[in-house]
Symmetry: none
Subunit: 232 residues, 4 copies
Amino acid sequence: MICGLRTMQRFAAGQGVDILFRMPALQEAIISIKDKNNGKYHRILEAAVMVFAQQGFYQSTISQIAREAGVADGTIYLYFKNKDDILLQFFTYKTKQVFDLFREEVAKADNAVEKLRNLIRRHLEEFQRDKNMAIVYQAETHQNSRSAEPQIREMSKMYLDIVSEIVEQGQADGSMRKDLYLSLVKRFILGAVDETINNWLHSGGKYDLTSMVDPLIDLFIRGIGNNRADHS
Amino acid sequence: MICGLRTMQRFAAGQGVDILFRMPALQEAIISIKDKNNGKYHRILEAAVMVFAQQGFYQSTISQIAREAGVADGTIYLYFKNKDDILLQFFTYKTKQVFDLFREEVAKADNAVEKLRNLIRRHLEEFQRDKNMAIVYQAETHQNSRSAEPQIREMSKMYLDIVSEIVEQGQADGSMRKDLYLSLVKRFILGAVDETINNWLHSGGKYDLTSMVDPLIDLFIRGIGNNRADHS
Amino acid sequence: MICGLRTMQRFAAGQGVDILFRMPALQEAIISIKDKNNGKYHRILEAAVMVFAQQGFYQSTISQIAREAGVADGTIYLYFKNKDDILLQFFTYKTKQVFDLFREEVAKADNAVEKLRNLIRRHLEEFQRDKNMAIVYQAETHQNSRSAEPQIREMSKMYLDIVSEIVEQGQADGSMRKDLYLSLVKRFILGAVDETINNWLHSGGKYDLTSMVDPLIDLFIRGIGNNRADHS
Amino acid sequence: MICGLRTMQRFAAGQGVDILFRMPALQEAIISIKDKNNGKYHRILEAAVMVFAQQGFYQSTISQIAREAGVADGTIYLYFKNKDDILLQFFTYKTKQVFDLFREEVAKADNAVEKLRNLIRRHLEEFQRDKNMAIVYQAETHQNSRSAEPQIREMSKMYLDIVSEIVEQGQADGSMRKDLYLSLVKRFILGAVDETINNWLHSGGKYDLTSMVDPLIDLFIRGIGNNRADHS
DNA sequence: CATGAATGAGCCTTCATTCAT
DNA sequence: AATGAATGAAGGCTCATTCAT
């Protein structure tokens, strides 16, 4: 139609993806547009994430991504402005999609602790399901001096905000301590989860990552101190 | 000839540095060797870390490092095998040096909780002192597919081992819970500290990082839960 | 099918355009053919000249021309064999059209000097009217190693021949010196006019180019010398 | 020495060349610096001009120039900022050098007409001597939308200024008409000479270009009109 | 030991051209 | 006839590494 691919690209890079999640009704329609042309946009993005995961962003070449996606090198530039833009789209589209799932998951639970448990379970589940995404996410969120940095920072912030809300609710309903340094707590939790994933990745992803959920929650809530001993 | 330096280099990369710290008697002699040539080895390493911190490893060039160090491009190859080797030396020499300080710090305290507090305080202090090191450390430890990976893994392991020992001691003396998944606990702690540093870096290093020590220890020991059992 | 257009194209590129001007009777019929398709052939050619004028031939892209002409990239290849062919058509069609006007203009005057004046006036008028044509003409006629070179040479030759004829007539009727190196004179005149246009273009086309006609003719006829013989 | 090639490059591109001609005493010294490294700077420039002459600027590749100069592709970037810079240096260094010779030549003659004759003779001589320079000069001075445009314009201006001075002197000493449109006259002369060269180039450089000097001067001074004949 | 000019492999990106729709 | 997505060859440029001085 009139809606060419270049248009589509800007659409995806701009508000398109936002709409994708805010208006579930339209979601299918847009996906169908993207799935035209053999779903090249997604194939390229998926291929890129795989290659980035294996070799790191700077050591990956456009040719490798193209080969992996089964398209010509030049085709990539119909869907992405340049190499950096692929990483950007990864964060604005793919990662964001996952993070919005987290919010849904949190909504399912009533009390704060269960919300936190659901969040972390889903987090581990999704990163376990898409290991390449996990690798790229871990690597890029710990870089500075990245062109995509503003997007990445916003991504992390989104996650931290969810945690903040949960902890505040926990403080309100009395399940969590009130004397907490909130901005520290949220990073404390994110950091612990991140490192758990990081270790799983470096171990080669052998064990079941989701088995870590309950032990993690237990550590978050009770800490490592032998607190009962204080009163025995 | 060339042999002299190459030997020295391998020496530094291997056990040399260990000896450097474990046998203070020899320390001066070796340093004097390295300090020959106007301390070029250190100047280059320091310059490299600064450049890596600012631009990331792959976006840094040998020329930039050479200019920063005040030497010619070719000179770098007298002290380092190649670009990757500079990063490797950063981990085997510079970072390791810091990590060995941690061990000293831990030895100063008696009980487990204070050991942990000392460790983390020193960790935050040193990373705050050398921000460039902190940046490079954060970035590279979260990459995979790095040529220096084995060295980096060993580095992390060293840290995790210290934490393990402390927790085990805490369990022995009753200050820490016995029902802990040890391999999770150590990552949980490292992750939280890492993320705390990470955030400090991204915030531009405005606030005093060491002020986070006590709140962090508190979170580790007591958790975030309102453990009313304490008061029952 | 494809055959139809390809034929038309070769037709236009070959003798078709010649016929267009030599046989006015057929002119309308052929134009009507070209005006089919919303006059796409002309729209593309006009768009191309505009783009070439702004950016130069090699820095212009087919996409830019297509956008300017309001057609798809591929459509251009229905009317032109390739990018070079567009430039070729510019010379065989558009420029030639103008040059034939020159011949008409020359025919209007009786004596040689007035013929020359008419020629140059029309030259400046037409190039002033179509600045893009002027720019492309100036640029391309001073290139060598151009695929369109034979066409361009023929174009210049046509102009030089007109000048030659005028000068020869001038010599015959006594208004021009007989001791002239004819092949030099014609280039001398073309060169001076070209440079006048060139300067006008580089000045941004601010002043009225046709005001240069009489001063130019004066220079051609009388030279710059203070030929006192005139006053004896 | 300390004066590296990068420095030399900037030097040549900046005021260095000016000094080269203003301070003949230093000329040899600088040339000797440039002739170091097997005179790579000049070899590359010469090779580039040859390739540009044969194929045009945009159709020439860095690889072709490098091959012609007998250096590696990357070496070119030690002496030139980028491809455009080669063209720029051609104008600021090579062409300028020739143009300054013109000024010397003009100084040798006493009266205006002889100055003009000397100028044009030297012009034709130099361009005949270095045909590649002539081709590139002709092609690039008639382009617009060139990155090197400001330099080129300045180059032309320099030539036009010389002509202006000569004509003004001619008017002062009575050898040239006073009722001349000076800014037109100078272009009229430059244009005629340019076209003479242009034609010589397109003819393949078969005949002796300098044989055109006297006929050209004759045309400039006396014009093509049969002026004296009227009264003799 | 030190230098830095030289190298050339490799990569990102552009764009003329094709062809299925 | 018209489209424009897809192609992939080609080229400018970078930069790690080498080596003659």
